[in-house]
């Protein structure tokens, strides 16, 4: 990771200045948000579904080490191999070594935020293994040399004209028709699926009792990735586990509706271990990599622990006014939006701005939308507290000090009222200072004669109103 930390303020201002990307983003986010809302509204039992899913996610946290041991035993019994990884570098080294030892040259990959978290593509490239992203959006992003901007729709910010130009450059074949562009990508990726030596997938839900890795998608690229190559590596973070298939069903009741507004996506694949005796296809080797990267420490944290209930549906991103405005890249971290502002603050070697928890209006839309019952504002507030403990915020300190003394507080307001009631002078002195920037889009109404000095003069009017309107 870079020694120079990301600055959300600068990155978000730059994102806002890019009118073209913003227009695409605006449209796409409103659409994904509307899809989710429509599907949730159409489910009369959504509240019950949510309650069951919240209970299942809580039950995972209550018995996490037991579940992981059960999972390990089940996967092993089904012919799979389980690996634990402490952090990003250990996980990517583990996978790279494993594939190198087996002579893998080409690996197909399905979209996995965890693989982004551990920087897997970079590690594979360094080891001379070609890793091809197979989700259409992710493939576009990879060809462009960018990073995803949304955890579900990574190329949300790219226009069809940009894709068209990209395909012309990379494949010598293009179109401006979106279905035709999709066919071009299909042809190019199909060759990769059929030739790949290994397939790497993430995991949406993992079932301890059966050792089953569940993945959800619409395109079919994950199904191909887990079915065709002779080696399958599935990458999960340790909190993705649930106890039973029935518990998984409860999570599935809310995950697709909250993510894409679907009852079920086109493909739900359940991979359990490696191919069995007598089977002619499916991977001969199946590896399940379980990543910690700071999560086990999070379990011990009574206030922040609930973020481990997150099922990565993206609902909190789509409703967040900040995310809606600036998009995913401004966060400079794998996980953007409300859940990302929390996760990036607590995961090991997470990139992003350390002050990210402050970039929130506390509107609470995230908590309202979250199907896993996470109260993001409470967690963000706690992260602010931990940050502030170390900082020296003189403005807040002085304001709080003034507020302890009503006479001083009143005098300060009176002084400001006389000297600079509309804050024009402050803004003129430092146009790029906080007040100057605040006033770029606003005209401050000005400090007035305080209410407390007007109240006494109201006495007669108030008693008249009381006599007239007072109820018997």
């Amino acid at each position: 990771m870079s020694a120079c930390r990301h600055n959300f303020g600068k990155a978000s201002a730059a994102a806002l200045a890019d009118g073209e990307s913003r227009a695409i983003l605006d449209k796409a986010i409103l659409q994904i948000h509307a899809l989710r809302q429509r599907s949730v509204d159409a489910m009369p039992d959504f509240t019950d579904r949510r309650a069951r899913a919240v209970a299942v996610r809580q039950a995972t946290l209550d018995r996490l080490p037991d579940l992981l041991e059960t999972l390990e035993a089940s996967v092993t019994a089904a012919g799979g191999i389980v690996h634990f990884a402490e952090d990003a570098s250990q996980a990517s080294r583990l996978i790279t070594d494993l594939l190198t030892a087996r002579g893998v040259r080409l690996a197909v990959k399905s979209k996995s935020m965890v693989s982004e978290e551990i920087g897997l593509n970079e590690a594979l490239a360094a080891a001379g293994i070609e890793a091809v992203e197979t989700d259409l959006g992710e493939y576009i992003i990879q060809l462009m040399g960018q990073k995803p901007s949304h955890i579900l729709a990574p190329a949300l910010h790219v226009s069809k004209e940009q894709v068209s130009a990209l395909f012309a450059e990379k494949f010598g074949r293009t179109s401006t028709d979106i279905p035709e562009m999709t066919r071009i990508a299909r042809d190019s990726l199909r060759a990769k699926f059929l030739a790949a030596d290994a397939g790497i997938t993430g995991a949406n839900i993992v079932v301890a009792e059966t050792g089953t890795v569940m993945v959800l998608e619409n395109e079919g690229n994950i199904r191909l990735t887990g079915s065709c190559p002779p080696i399958h590596v599935a990458l999960m973070t340790l909190e993705k586990v649930v106890g039973s298939l029935a518990e998984a069903a409860a999570v599935l009741d809310i995950l697709p509706p909250s993510a894409t507004g679907q009852t079920l996506p086109v493909h739900l694949s359940l991979f359990t271990g490696a191919r069995r005796d007598g089977e002619r296809d499916g991977p001969r080797e199946m590896h399940l990599v379980i990543l910690d990267n700071g999560r086990s420490e999070l379990l011990a944290d009574p206030i922040l622990r609930p973020i481990l209930k997150c099922i990565r549906c993206g609902a909190c991103l789509n409703v967040c006014p900040v995310y809606q405005s600036v998009g995913g890249h401004a966060y400079g971290s794998v996980y953007p939006g409300p859940m990302g502002s929390i996760l990036s603050s607590v995961l090991k070697d997470a990139a992003g701005d350390a002050r990210q928890p402050f970039a929130c209006t506390h509107c609470g839309a995230c908590a309202e939308a979250c199907p896993a019952g996470i109260d993001h504002p409470v967690l963000l507030q706690e992260l602010r507290r931990r940050q502030a403990e170390q900082g020296t915020d003189t403005a807040t300190k002085s304001y709080a000090a003034l507020a302890r003394h009503p006479l001083l507080f009143g005098a300060a307001a009176a002084w400001a009222r006389t000297v600079d009631p509309r804050l024009d002078r402050v803004a003129a002195m430092a146009p790029d200072g906080p007040v100057g920037k605040f006033l770029r889009g606003r005209k401050f109404p000005g400090l007035s004669k305080p209410f407390s000095r007007r109240f006494k003069a109201m006495a007669k009017r108030l008693s008249r109103a009381q006599a007239k309107g007072g109820r018997s």
């Binding site: 994904i32 039992d45 579904r49 069951r52 299942v56 209550d62 996490l64 041991e69 089904a78 012919g79 690996h83 634990f84 402490e86 250990q90 259409l136 959006g137 949300l156 226009s159 069809k160 562009m181 999709t182 066919r183 299909r186 990726l189 199909r190 699926f193 059929l194 059966t210 050792g211 619409n218 395109e219 079919g220 690229n221 199904r223 191909l224 079915s227 065709c228 340790l238 039973s244 298939l245 029935a246 518990e247 409860a250 009852t263 079920l264 086109v266 493909h267 694949s269 359940l270 991979f271 359990t272 191919r275 089977e279 002619r280 296809d281 499916g282 910690d292 086990s296 420490e297 379990l299």
Partner: protein
Amino acid sequence: MNETQTRTAILSRLRAGQPKGLPRARRPLSLRRQCLDAVDFETFAAALTALGPTFELARTPDAAKAALAAVVAKNGVKTAVRWDHPDLDAVDAAATLAGAGVAVLAPEDLPERVCPSLAAVDMGITSVAYAVCATGSLILAAGKGRERATPLVPRLHVALLPASKLVPDLPAVFEGLAKGPMPSAVNCVSGVSSTGDIEFVYVRGVHGPLAVHVIGLEWL
């Protein structure tokens, strides 16, 4: 640290960090949602066809054979790959296809790398483990003679669906799966693959089969 040490370190941190307090009630959580959907071909077909695939109900084995021959003719199928499955035998699938001039690959004909070998094959024909009425989903379970690639790589997937395989919803599928050992792969397929990754424009037919046809077997 080696892998064993890592495993031990992670698990012991998790044990130390588990939420404290009284042990929670062991009473199993009631997870089953109420199921309101009818279990019949009509409900299934309505959900299925809304997602893109086509459906035909056959009331007799002869009707099923005719339906299969018609699909082959309509789609210009020259080559096919099939599963070994009693439901296919019930409609003489291999013979029916051969009779229609289709070269049929049986599981035992398949080479070491199955997927590439099916790249140019027109059709894959399978049965299903279950079919979900609420969502029009086909549940395909891998096994000996039931290759994952058969319903996945060819451009057309034809699934035979006996009436006895219809279930109301996905939890019912999971209840069924929980009774036996889990197959190495179970695929729940609802419609034809799709994407919205370019400017959120919905496109059908990304990977896998571009068309899916289901023949309902009413007598089975």
